[in-house]
Amino acid sequence: MKEETPLVDELEKGPWPSYVKEIKRAAKKSKAAEDLLGVQELSFNDKVTHWKHGGIVGVTGYGGGVIGRYSDVPDKFPNVESFHTLRVNHPAGWFYNTKALRKICDVWEKHGSGLTNMHGSTGDIILLGTTTAHLQPCFNDLTEAGFDLGGSGSALRTPTACVGPARCEWTNINTLDMVQDLTMEFQDEIHRPRWPYKSKIKISGCPNDCVAAIARADLTIIGTWRDSLKIDQNGVKEYAKNGFDIKTLVVDKCPTNALEWDEKSKNLKLKPEDCVRCMHCINKMTKAIRPGDDKGATIMIGGKAPIVKGAMLSFVLVPFMKAEPPYTEIKELIRKIWDWWDENGRVRERVGELIERVGMRNFLKAVDLKPVPQMIKAPRTNPYVFF
């Protein structure tokens, strides 16, 4: 039954592409998508969600990858009585060939609402809305098309990585290869929840952190370098010549005053021991300044959203680690961390919160790491010290 949706329709206007138009496009072929419009309108009127709590549905042999969802107004909108989403692993860097994309479209047109999120905020392809009966067949068709499910529940989530070596001149690690490798390595952990809570891995090629790993990943891998960044003085002069205000826009903004600018000779000098590799000078003068040669990764841990004990940013665990395939050292470390967390974590306690609860010293011992000052901003102020 086609409902009137005057409030929703309002959102077809305006310059930004309209998701309402998209739902309407899908609605042409899918009853569920049509009902979804009605649900939106109802929510606009009632100012509450009309989806019931949770739902556990899935495919054979997997414990996650599907978010079960049921309407609380099934009588009114029978086509979204059940409206589950599948989380589908994206290829590293969100690169696609159109063949693969079109296959997904076909599968989803066949089994679901025809609505998707490209992408979910973890990075999955989100196939938005289908029924329980369609789950297994849809999954079968997806794997046939070369795609697999992502994670949900107390499992590893689809790891993500920035575009890195595919396009970015600043990457210090092979983000795409690494994310592909880790994803394959941890298939079991993605598909079969087993832990106290979810866990996330994100990889950025440099400290610009274009996948926001520091904020959102339990295990954060950030490319960096250990030697000095490289300055090409001719490149610098070029920037100066073009009127770029190197002093104000770069030198003065270096967080540690590691740069010195000689206005006369147009020479930019670095005190390498003071550089904290923040990327700013590189970012703004990419034609003249580049990361160093001794490349690798900083491994950080503990990032997460506010629930339960307040949001956490990832913090430094290993200041520098070489990161070459097959990434054995990183994998071993990750397994050690998970094992300790799984053994000691409480229900719904992310690894960062566990470390906070039991103290870094216990954690470091468990994962065989030596304390180094780079792990902390500053030593403790309190005198409450264990011996």
């Binding site: 959102l11 206007k13 305006g14 930004w16 592409p17 309209s18 998701y19 998209e22 496009r25 649900v39 939106q40 606009f44 009632d46 100012k47 509450v48 969600t49 989806w51 019931k52 949770g54 042999g61 290829p91 860097g93 969100w94 690169f95 159109t98 079109r102 997904i104 479209c105 076909d106 999120n117 490209m118 992408h119 973890t122 938005l128 809305g129 046939e144 697999d148 920035c162 070596p165 595919a166 396009r167 001149e169 592909q180 994803t183 394959m184 996948v211 520091i214 904020a215 959102r216 826009l249 034609k287 959203a305 506010p306 629930i307 339960v308 004990k309 307040g310 949001a311 940013l313 719904r348």
Partner: protein
């Protein structure tokens, strides 16, 4: 039983030829104009990227549309960004304008690069989530309609990253965004004592509360819990583990705004976003109060910040008292932290401005 644990397709099958060839060997890039990047490889090869906005919630026909464009101009390759934008990649400069034209035809704005506002990271809202205290896609639409100009241009002091989460679970890097819009409840859970015992794990429910507001029902006969009203700050974590404790409420639900977060390590280390507007009502379909205050803040920021100064860096420099003065947002008791690390936010110095 079909295949299992096959993992995602290998990205090597997905990247275009020029990327394959110059993989890991890029030299520098420049932004030719809003939405258009030019990357140059050590080999001298060039890669042009055209970035286009997307509503994220799209139909398969939408995907087919962009596939058509990619087939036509990009040898059948495209990618998405970590902020949902679509990127068309080509080694051929000549194709840039046609791609832009094609995108425009599809109604997709080209932009989102450099010192502007990119796409808004967001979440499900009333479209799919049980937990939502507000909707997401409509607010994003309403906002981007108004901030459109900042997407297709690069005239802000620095990147300005906006994110939206429909509840405080904050699916996305909302807690570290220049501007964060968060759905919030303001009424305590309404407990279904009949059902709770049968469908919820009581110890888990009790443990879920960040403030310890949940206790067993004092009447031992009733297998349920009670909530201490003065300790409940409506986080909804109990609801996540226990369906019998919903807190959605058409009047109580609304939006809070946070500002000044960032993720990159450039210049200042990553920062959390901080509460600036404790509550605005849900006002579908266009949430005018939210749109208005966001626009105001962006304008004040645009006017006052220095070049390459992110929102949070600017606020840190001028001080929060100045931020509140300039934006004319009233300062309330809600702004003052009273959670675990509250004391770290108190001003333990006589240094302040007026």
């Amino acid at each position: 039983m079909g295949k299992a644990d096959i993992g995602p397709p290998n990205f090597r099958e997905m990247i275009p030829e020029v990327v394959k060839k110059n993989y890991g060997d890029w030299k520098y890039h420049e932004i030719l104009k809003p939405g258009v990047l030019r990357h140059v490889a050590e080999s001298g090869d060039e890669l042009y990227t055209v970035r286009a906005g997307s509503p994220r919630l799209v139909s398969v026909d939408f995907i087919r549309d962009i596939c058509d464009v990619a087939d036509k101009y990009c040898d059948g390759h495209l990618r998405f960004t970590s902020r949902y934008n679509i990127e068309f990649l080509t080694p051929d400069k000549e194709k840039v304008e046609p791609i832009i034209e094609a995108a425009k035809k599809l109604g997709l704005p080209v932009g989102g690069t450099g010192d502007g506002i990119s796409n808004i990271v967001h979440t499900q809202g009333w479209v799919h989530c049980h937990s939502a205290a507000t909707d997401s896609s409509p607010i994003v639409k309403a906002l981007m309609d108004e901030l459109y100009d900042y997407f297709i241009s690069m005239k802000l002091p620095a990147k300005l990253r906006v994110s939206l989460a429909c509840c405080i679970n904050m699916c996305g890097a909302v807690h570290c965004s220049d501007l964060a819009i968060v759905g919030v409840h303001t009424k305590i859970p309404k407990i279904d004592h009949e059902k709770l015992g049968a469908i919820c794990e009581i110890p888990t429910t009790i443990a879920s509360c960040p403030t310890g507001a949940i206790r067993r029902h004092p009447d031992k006969e009733i297998k349920s819990v009670v909530v201490r009203e003065d300790l409940c700050m409506y986080c909804g974590n109990c609801f996540t583990v226990c369906p019998a404790m919903p807190l959605a409420d058409s009047e109580g639900d609304g939006i809070a705004i946070y500002a000044g977060g960032k993720v990159s390590n450039a210049r200042k280390p990553p920062m959390f976003s901080r509460l600036i507007v404790p509550f605005l009502p849900n006002n579908p379909p266009r949430w005018p109060e939210v749109v208005e205050i966001i626009k105001k803040i962006v304008n004040v920021y645009a006017k006052n910040a220095r070049r390459y100064e992110r929102m949070g860096e600017w606020i840190e420099r001028v001080g929060w008292e100045t931020f509140f003065r300039l934006t004319e947002i009233p300062f309330t008791e809600q702004h003052i932290d009273d959670f675990t690390y509250a004391r770290e936010t108190w001003r333990t110095t006589t240094q302040f401005k007026w």
